[in-house]
Assembly symmetry: C2
Homo-oligomer: 405 residues x 2
């Protein structure tokens, strides 16, 4: 019998309780022993709960000797950070779904876990229930990973899918997402790309081996995407997706969050609604994609519980999932990024566009024209674009990743 | 420094050598120490090889005390079986890409590995480089897995994609696959579904916990799929894919390999060309899909090397990947399977079809009509179908899997 504690009995925390109750038997067979929730810390009361005696408002109750693993599902990088440090220092392994905390203090907490002979796991912090942290660090370990492109936020993907399929405006798609509970009342973290930013920061830290900071990742959301952008994308055989991506080249990282045009033959273009998809490029395996529900109570909880089982089977940190503090000279010069854009301009600007970008193929829609630039450095693109009149929008194109070794 | 041996220096075996050479540094950082190939067993000579001194024709050379892990990439369930038993008995962990061996003797070899305190891993045996064995047994451990549907064979998927996209006949698509080296001269193992059968047997054994035998899995290939089937599928908003699937319900397994109509909104329908996709349904996570190159030298080799790294980090079998010998009462009655079919009949048979299946929606194509039956038991379907005249073909429909808990 392994006793665990839960901090934060919200959507994910209560999901963890539910998964453990529902799948008790199969979890016991995988873990080699039964898993039981012994204490739940939350400031709220849950008088209707079937086991009210589990709840406590005292953090120190989680330091109970019988508890070896604590699940942190409270979120944020404030109190959760303090609690996690205390738990690791007290010799408890911690499993979290808290992307903000991992993206901010991951390196430090991993060191603390290692020093105390316990583990700090966070599969649920990216992609909800989709296995991605484990596969990246373990199953793809024989590859040099050169690129990750992820649809990492279900809310924005729902909005973009709705705009694409039904031709509705951004504001209407957002309202509907809010009505269905897919978007929060204040949707900033989702629609401005901050949630995606945290997740790509975590995945990139994992691949790169040192902490990638969110404030080093240029982040643009989907607020400015219009119906015309979507219509152009469709004409070009693409969908528009909010992509968190990172590429590692010559030891330097380029990471960014922005809307991107994804050609229809790319598997990411078929990831719709609230689903997430993460496309990883390794030098041996080529492209591999992980697809599933990137959020939600039970999917996310199932990833938390899988980490709990992993710790029961291997309680000692074998240095998997390990990255160090941010190092110098991590980031590539953003201006050096090789990139291509889809640019929309007023039709009167055609000659200035051709003067700037050469003989690009033109797609017309009403009084507008759109074209895809050749691949060039970002600085080069910006210099040329400054010569183009009446620019309506520019959206990055997904470009093919390098060939296999 | 960890020394490994390789048995069988064909496509995958030489890929393992190449991946270890190319990614030496990143592998060392993941494994915690350098990995070196010390001996390669093959009956052939490789005089042009850069390290000819590694080759041997003597199996006993692999029992060298310095070798702790042996990679078996020779294939087949004959000599490879004998070699694997000897290696495990001698205290060497074995990593394999040999699906035939794992599907036939997996349970027995796992017991042998456990008894000798070593490991027997086989991530590369299914889905080439796509992480699936690990995620199924580890990352999804908190789920009760109720269904797996996989496009597990790249050759047949290439042929079907070609037929679908370009309207070419089966025989022509097969010839082209052979010309590109995607299909062998004798394509039986691929096109008749045997390769898919072995892979779904392995995945199902893993989920079910006891050996699922290939001869218990009804297996139908793609030889009989015609251009008209494909045209009908397209009209119905589906693609035709060769699917290996298994479902677990009330403790009993239904497993089958057959061509299947996949609705376009299902992520499996977007898996094209030589790519593989494996859709897993868990009671907490819902649908999750793994996508990538299911074959090929370097992708498959990268999965083998990932298993080698895994063993270096955790040399003792922690009972992951473990299934037992086949048990009694494993298989559900095939006639009880809840299923739906797409049936094509000559237009003259319309009234008999309606008499048998009720008011189904009819799709016409030249002198033929096609319709999708309601979901019903297989025996019920067969009984009703016997009353329909001029049946041209019947293809199973993908049916939605159960809701989440």
């Amino acid at each position: 019998m392994v006793n665990i504690g839960i901090i934060g009995y919200g959507v994910v925390g209560s999901g963890v309780y539910e998964v453990i109750k529902t799948n008790t038997e199969s979890i016991a067979s995988k873990a080699g022993q039964e898993v039981r929730v012994l204490k739940i810390l939350d400031i709220r009361d849950f008088p209707e709960h079937e086991e009210p005696e589990l709840f406590t408002k005292e953090f120190d109750d989680l330091l109970d000797d019988r508890i070896s693993i604590v699940v942190e599902t409270m979120g944020g990088a404030g109190i959760a950070y303090e609690f996690t440090k205390k738990l690791l220092a007290a010799g408890k392994s911690v499993v979290t779904s808290n992307k903000e905390l991992v993206a901010t203090y991951g390196a430090q907490l991993m060191v603390l876990a290692k020093e105390n002979g316990v583990r700090y796991l966070f599969e649920a912090s990216v992609g909800g229930g989709i296995p991605i942290v484990h596969p990246l660090s373990q199953c793809l370990a024989a590859n040099a990973i050169s690129a990750i492109h992820g649809i990492l936020n279900g809310t924005t993907n729902y909005i973009l899918t709705k705009m694409f399929r039904e031709g509705v405006a951004y504001a209407d798609a957002l309202s509907e997402a809010q009505r269905f509970g897919y978007a929060e009342k204040d949707p900033t973290a989702d629609v401005d790309g901050h949630d995606t930013c945290r997740k790509i920061a975590i995945l990139t830290s994992l691949v790169y081996g040192s902490q990638i900071k969110c404030d080093k990742i240029p982040t643009e959301g989907i607020r400015n995407i219009t119906g015309d952008d979507v219509a152009f994308a469709d004409k070009l055989g693409c969908s528009i997706k909010l992509i968190g991506y990172s590429r590692v080249k010559n030891g330097a990282v380029t990471a960014r969050v922005c809307p991107m045009m994804i050609p229809r033959k790319n598997p990411l273009s078929t990831v719709e609604d609230v689903f997430n998809g993460i496309l990883v490029h390794g030098n041996a395996i080529g492209d591999v994609m992980f697809y599933g529900r990137g959020a939600g109570k039970l999917p996310t909880a199932s990833a938390v519980v899988a980490d709990v089982i992993e710790i029961i089977k291997a309680p000692v940190n074998s240095s998997t999932y390990f990255w160090k503090e941010e190092k110098e000279n991590t980031y590539a010069d953003l201006g050096d990024e090789e990139t291509a854009y889809c640019v929309r301009v007023h039709e009167s600007a055609l000659s200035s566009a051709i003067a700037a970008f050469g003989n690009v193929e033109i797609t017309s829609l009403r009084q507008e024209i759109g074209f895809v630039t050749p691949v060039m450095k970002e600085t080069d693109f910006n210099a040329r674009l400054s010569g183009v009149k009446s620019v309506i929008s520019k959206i990055k194109m997904y470009t093919e990743q390098g060939e296999q070794v």
